[in-house]
C-alpha cells in the first residue's frame, strides 16, 4: 500500500494532518487531566491509587453466589457485587423478554379484554419511575408479609415472609453433574437431528417435522444423565428457626423486589418494541405466504418473525443494556449490587475516585459484551438480500 503523502497540498494529506493534530491534542488533554487529578489528591492529602484493592474489605455482604467473608479483599468484594448485578440483570433480561413479548403480542390480539389489559399494563408501567416501582415492591414485601418468625407455608416446603422466599434446594451429588453434562449432549443430538432433516428436505423435498423430537432430545439429555448418575433426590429443606427460616434456597426481599421492579418496567418497553416490530412487517407478506400455502404457524415462524426481528433487535439491545444499568438502583432498596458495594467501599477507605472508575469500567465492559452478543445475533437475523 503506498503511503499517503503528508502534504498540505493534497486533500488526503490535509485530512491526515488535521486528524493527527486532533489525536495529539486529545492525548495531551487526557494526560493533563490525569496529572492534575493526581496533584489535587496529593495536595489534599487524600490517598490515591488502586493498591487498596488487595487489602481486606472488612465489611460483610448480605447475599450472593460468590463465597465472600469480611476477610477477603476489596477486589473479591467488588466481584461479589458484580456477581449480584449479573445475577439480577440476567434473570431480569430473560423474564422481561418473555413477559414483554407476551404483552406486545397481546396488544395486537383480537380479544378486546386481552388487548385492553396489555395496553393498560404498558401505559401504567412505562409511566411510573423505576425507583418508585422498586420502593413500592419492597414496601409490599417488607410491610405486608408476615414476620420472618411466622412465615406463610407454601406448597412444596417453601416459606414466604419478610425474610424472603425460602425453597428446598437439591443437595449437590455426582448425579447432578451427569445431568449437567447431559444437557449439551442432548442439545448436540437435537442439532444433528435438525441438520439431517434439513438435508433430507433439501434433497427430496420432503422432510419430517422434527421440532418436538428435538425438544424431547434436549430435555432427555439431562434426565438420562440424572438417571445414570443414580437419580439423586436429596433436598435441603428450609426450616423455620428462632430468627426466621433458615437453609434451602433463599431469595431475599431485596433481590425479589429488584428483580420484579426491573422485569415489570423493562417488559413494558419491550412490549412496545415487539409490537412495533410486528407492525413493521407489511400485511402483504402474510397474505403472500398464505397464497403460497404456508400454514399460519409457518407464516409466523418463517415469514413474519424473521422480518420483525430485524426491527426488534437493535432497540431490544438498548433495553437489555438499560436494564443492566438500572440494576444499580439496587442501593435504594438495600440489594448488595456492584454500586452498593462500591459505595460502601469508597466510604470505608475514602477512595471515591478509584471506586467510581471501577464502577464505570465494569458497567462499560458488561454492556459492551452484551452489545457484542446482540450485534452478532442481529447479523444472523439480518435480511440477506440477493
Amino acid at each position: 500500500m503506498p503511503l499517503p503523502s503528508v502534504s498540505w497540498s493534497s486533500r488526503s494529506g490535509r485530512a491526515l494532518i488535521v486528524q493527527g493534530a486532533l489525536l495529539a491534542l486529545l492525548i495531551l488533554a487526557g494526560a493533563a487531566l490525569w496529572r492534575n487529578t493526581q496533584g489535587a489528591l496529593a495536595a489534599r492529602q487524600i490517598r490515591s491509587g488502586f493498591s487498596f484493592l488487595s487489602e481486606p474489605a472488612g465489611f460483610d455482604i448480605g447475599e450472593g453466589p460468590v463465597p465472600y467473608t469480611p476477610r477477603d479483599s476489596y477486589l473479591v468484594a467488588f466481584a461479589a457485587g458484580l456477581a449480584n448485578t449479573l445475577r439480577v440483570s440476567a434473570l431480569g433480561i430473560v423474564l422481561a423478554t418473555v413477559l414483554g413479548t407476551l404483552i406486545g403480542v397481546g396488544r395486537l390480539s383480537r380479544n378486546v379484554l386481552v388487548r385492553a389489559g396489555c395496553t393498560a399494563y404498558v401505559e401504567v408501567l412505562r409511566n411510573v419511575p423505576l425507583v418508585i416501582l422498586l420502593f413500592g415492591t419492597y414496601l409490599v414485601l417488607t410491610e405486608f408479609l408476615p414476620e420472618a418468625t411466622e412465615p406463610i407455608s407454601l406448597p412444596g416446603s417453601a416459606f414466604l415472609s419478610k425474610g424472603g422466599l425460602h425453597a428446598p434446594r437439591p443437595l449437590w451429588a455426582a448425579g447432578w453433574g451427569a445431568a449437567l453434562l447431559g444437557l449439551p449432549l442432548g442439545g448436540a443430538a437435537a442439532w444433528l437431528l435438525a441438520r439431517w432433516a434439513r438435508a433430507r428436505r433439501a434433497r427430496t423435498g420432503r422432510g419430517p417435522a422434527v421440532g418436538w423430537a428435538g425438544l424431547g432430545l434436549v430435555l432427555a439429555g439431562p434426565v438420562v444423565g440424572w438417571l445414570l448418575g443414580g437419580a439423586p433426590r436429596g433436598l435441603e429443606l428450609p426450616e423455620p428457626g428462632p430468627f426466621g427460616v433458615a437453609g434451602g434456597l433463599s431469595l431475599t426481599p431485596e433481590f425479589l423486589a429488584l428483580l420484579t421492579g426491573l422485569t415489570l418496567s423493562a417488559a413494558a418497553s419491550i412490549a412496545e418494541i415487539v409490537r412495533s416490530g410486528l407492525l413493521a412487517v407489511s400485511h402483504g407478506q402474510a397474505e403472500a405466504a398464505g397464497a403460497l400455502g404456508l400454514r399460519p404457524r409457518q407464516t409466523t415462524r418463517l415469514v413474519l418473525l424473521p422480518q420483525a426481528l430485524r426491527v426488534i433487535i437493535p432497540p431490544l439491545t438498548s433495553q437489555f443494556l438499560n436494564l443492566t444499568k438500572n440494576s444499580s438502583l439496587a442501593v435504594a432498596i438495600g440489594y448488595p449490587d456492584l454500586v452498593s458495594i462500591a459505595n460502601t467501599a469508597m466510604n470505608q477507605n475514602g477512595q471515591a475516585l478509584e471506586c467510581i472508575l471501577v464502577i464505570m469500567a465494569v458497567y462499560l465492559s458488561v454492556n459492551l459484551v452484551t452489545a457484542l452478543l446482540m450485534n452478532l445475533y442481529e447479523r444472523r437475523v439480518a435480511l440477506v438480500e440477493r
Binding site: 419478610k162 460502601t344 475514602g350
Partner: protein, 343 residues
Amino acid sequence: MRRSLTSLPPLALALAAAFAPVAAQAGKTLDAVKARGEVICGVNTSAPGFSAVDSQGKWVGLDVDTCRAVAAAVLGDPAKVKFVPLNSQQRFAALQGGEIDILSRNTTWTLTRDASLGIVFAGINYYDGQGFMVPRKLKVDSARKLGGATICVQAGTTSEKNVADYFQAHAIKYKTVVFDTAEGIQSAFFAGRCQAYTTDVSDLSGARTKTARPDDYVILPDVISKEPLGPAVRRGDDEWFQIVRWTGFLMLEAEEAKLTQANVDRMKAESKDPAVQRLLGTGDDTGKLLGLDKEWGYRIVKAVGNYGESFERNLGPSTPLALPRGPNRLWSQGGLMYAPPVR
C-alpha cells in the same frame, strides 16, 4: 430527590479533583467563612439528640451545638450556620470536596479516617460504643444469642466493620441487610425486615424515639466497640482546625468553671477569678492566638452553654433519649471529658 443526589458528592469530588487547579487550601477556611458570613456544617440527616430538625424547623442536637458554637466564636452569631444534611456515604466526600467547613455528624474517629481521607478530627464530643437493638418479643438478652439472625446495619459505617469483626470473633453466623441512609435502614428494621439493628448506642436510643412504640424494642447490654464521636475538618488548614478544636475544649472548660448560659453575663461582669476571666475575655486575650477576638469564649457559652448544658438539653434524662452521662462526664467526676487549659 434524595436518592438521585446521593451519588453526587463522590462524583463532584471526582470532577473537582480532575478539573480544579492544584492549590493548597491552608489557612483559607476562616477567611472564606468570614467573607461568606456563615459556617457550612455537615450534619446527620436525622439523628435525634445529635442533629435533627425540631417542630419549629430549627436544627438541634449535640453536633448542631458544636457548629453553632463555632459560628458564635467566629462570626458572633450562633444562627449563622448553614446545615447540610449528609448520609454516611456522602460525609467524607463533602468535606474533602470543600462543600462544608466542618463535619459534625456523630462520626467515629479512627486511624484510617484520620490518616488517609484528607481530613482530621478536631476532638471528641461524645464517647460512644456500638450496641444492638432487638424487638422485645424475640426475648433475646445478649448479642451472643443472635446466631442465625438478620441484622440491619448502615452502609459505610464503622458499625458495618465492627459487626463483621464481632461475629467472626465469636464464630456466630448472621446475615446483613445494608442501606446507605439512616432512614432506609431504620424503616427496614422497624418494618421487621431484620431481627436486630446495630449502630452506636446513642444512635439506637435516638432511632427508638422515632417509632410509635419505643417500648417494643430493647437495647442489648453488649457494647462491642469504642466509638469516639467528634467533629472533623479538612487537612492542611491548621488555623481552622485549632478554632474547631478549642471551641470544643472551651465548652468543657466552661463546665468545669461552672459557667452556664444563665450565669455567664453575671460572671463576666463580676468574676475576679483569672481562669474565668481568660475564658470570657475579660482577662488575657486568648482569642488573638486563634485568629479570633477576645470574647470568643463568652459568646460560645452565651450561645450554646457549656458542654454539660448541651448534653442535658439534647441527650439527658429530660429528653426522649434519656441517655446517662456515663463516660461523657467531666474527668473530675469520673468521666473521660478532659480539656487542656485554655490559657
